[in-house]
Amino acid sequence: MKKSKTKLVSLLLVTAIIGLTGCGAAKNSSASTSETESTSAIASTTESTTANASATTSESATKSESAPKKLVVTGPSAFDTVSYYDESGKLTGFEVELLRAIDEYLPEYEFDFQPTNDFASIFLGIETNKTDIAYCQLEYNEERAQKYLFTKESYCNFPLRLVVLGDNNEINSLEDLKGKTLQVGTGGNDAYIMEQYNAKNGNPINLSYATPDTTITDANLKNGTIDAYVGVERYVKINNEALGFNHKCVGDVLADTKCYFITNLNNTELSARIDEAVVALKSDGTISKLSEQFFGGDYTK
């Protein structure tokens, strides 16, 4: 095993040098869907980063039909309540536990969680076939739908609203934001929606792009760098409680979006199977229960 690992590394090294300096246009090679052929050498290298990897590595590459197909599942590694590590170092959270339930429901698949710290990497992983299923409270929009396959059954709502400091009474709607600065997430659906709004209305709002670090957002609100940000009420509540913020949601819902899982565009079968599982887990109350457990309320409708 050790030998094949070093062989693999050296092989990769040589090719990586060529790849790096060759500098060819990195096209998305039409994905070879050879997951089933992954040898035990590769299977055994997926270690430590995932909580449940150790349980899945013992399989060999036997082509027995009963062996479930291993799928890589990627989401955020540091998203409180959704996908995070608990004190014992176990990956958990609303979407993680939901995916575990889906995994259980689908005997033909076996999920291997490989979370990342970089939001853009979640999408890139799907595009490059590094990962099979992606999650991160991902909202549907048309731009994204051209590149990724969304599942059809939502499991969680995501009503976007304006968020301001608790003592701010000037801003109550998008109109009030004229000439002011609104923070949106880099690569986020809120950014997409606000860009569309700006394009339609002659750019009334200054958009400030940021990776959502709530502490920095709070500081920016207080020091006036931004006047408002786009958020979801349940997270605003959670942050107010956990971090002692005084933020409030104002105005109408900007977009009543829902969350879905995404897969590679070619992966229609997997997407359909996830939908079947989500429907079943919705009707037996599993998803509502998870929502109560992690969000403190049922946000599945």
């Binding site: 693999l8 590394v9 092989l11 990769l12 090294l13 090719t15 990586a16 040098i17 790849g19 790096l20 300096t21 500098c23 060819g24 990195a26 096209k27 998305n28 090679s29 994905a31 070879s32 050879s34 997951e35 052929e37 992954s38 040898t39 050498a41 590769i42 299977a43 290298t45 997926t46 270690e47 430590s48 980063t49 291993k70 890589v72 990627t74 590694s77 540091a78 998203f79 409180d80 995070y84 590590y85 608990d86 004190e87 490989q114 979370p115 990342t116 710290n117 970089d118 990497s121 890139l124 992983g125 490059t128 076939n129 590094k130 670090d213 502490t215 956990a242 971090l243 002692g244």
Partner: protein
């Protein structure tokens, strides 16, 4: 809520310390592999081997001229996208290789460029008269290289080798973006759970500073021990 509490920093430290080995593993393997590649790259340049010399020159300036996190993404996403069809023929699914392997490859390739220049400068830094003197007493080329050039070049290389190592340690802090749980990875994990990130950054700064200081001290001792007594 207070923005910063020292008590939280002390809570962070023991948890971060557990992940120092992960960072050191990346650093050690990358230095080892990087040195080997660096020797080859510097040989191309020292002996002016046609084509390969140009390749080596380009490679070094490319690596030195691009940020490490971009290199990480190129190696992690770009290389498999280009090469997975080839690897599939050998039964390897490149897309399913552990992120840690790609991280080690990236940092190896990265440090190779810096080490290659260091090796080249050190070898060329040995006076020409030294090898001429060696030839004059009948040493062969290989003997001269082993007994005269390498010991002197190594001494020239020591201080900068330490600098490269310290830089590499700091650069590994970017690997957590790919999901690696190292010093920075555990800080982000604990920060999410406890909602106290600033203390985590301060705690990790203390750890990085401590590791770097230890390495600097080690190298300054080596430097003193190997210095020519005059």
């Amino acid at each position: 809520m207070e923005l910063f509490k020292w008590s939280v920093v002390w809570e962070y430290l023991p948890q971060i310390i557990k992940y120092i080995p992960v960072t050191l593993k990346i650093v050690l393997l990358a230095t080892l592999i990087g040195t080997l590649i660096g020797i080859v790259l510097s040989a191309f340049r020292i002996y002016h081997i046609p084509i390969l010399n140009a390749f080596s020159k380009f490679y070094i300036s490319f690596i030195r001229g691009t940020p490490v996190n971009i290199q990480l993404y190129v190696v992690y996403f770009g290389v498999p996208a280009l090469l997975s069809p080839i690897f599939a023929n050998f039964g390897y699914d490149l897309n399913r290789v552990d992120a840690m392997i790609f991280v080690i490859i990236t940092y190896s390739l990265n440090s190779a460029a810096f080490l290659a220049e260091l090796i080249r400068a050190s070898v060329l830094g040995v006076e020409k008269g030294q090898s001429e003197a060696a030839y004059s007493i009948g040493m062969t080329k290989i003997q001269t290289f082993q007994r005269i050039i390498i010991p002197q070049a190594a001494r020239i290389a020591i201080p900068d080798f330490g600098n490269i190592l310290v830089n590499l340690i700091k650069n590994t802090s970017l690997a957590y973006a790919l999901g690696i749980i190292d010093i920075m990875g555990i800080v982000s994990i604990i920060g999410t759970r406890t909602h106290r990130t600033l203390e985590g950054y301060v705690a990790s700064a203390i750890i990085y500073f401590a590791i770097s200081t230890v390495i600097e001290q080690i190298f300054s001792v080596i430097q003193k021990k190997t210095a020519v007594q005059s």
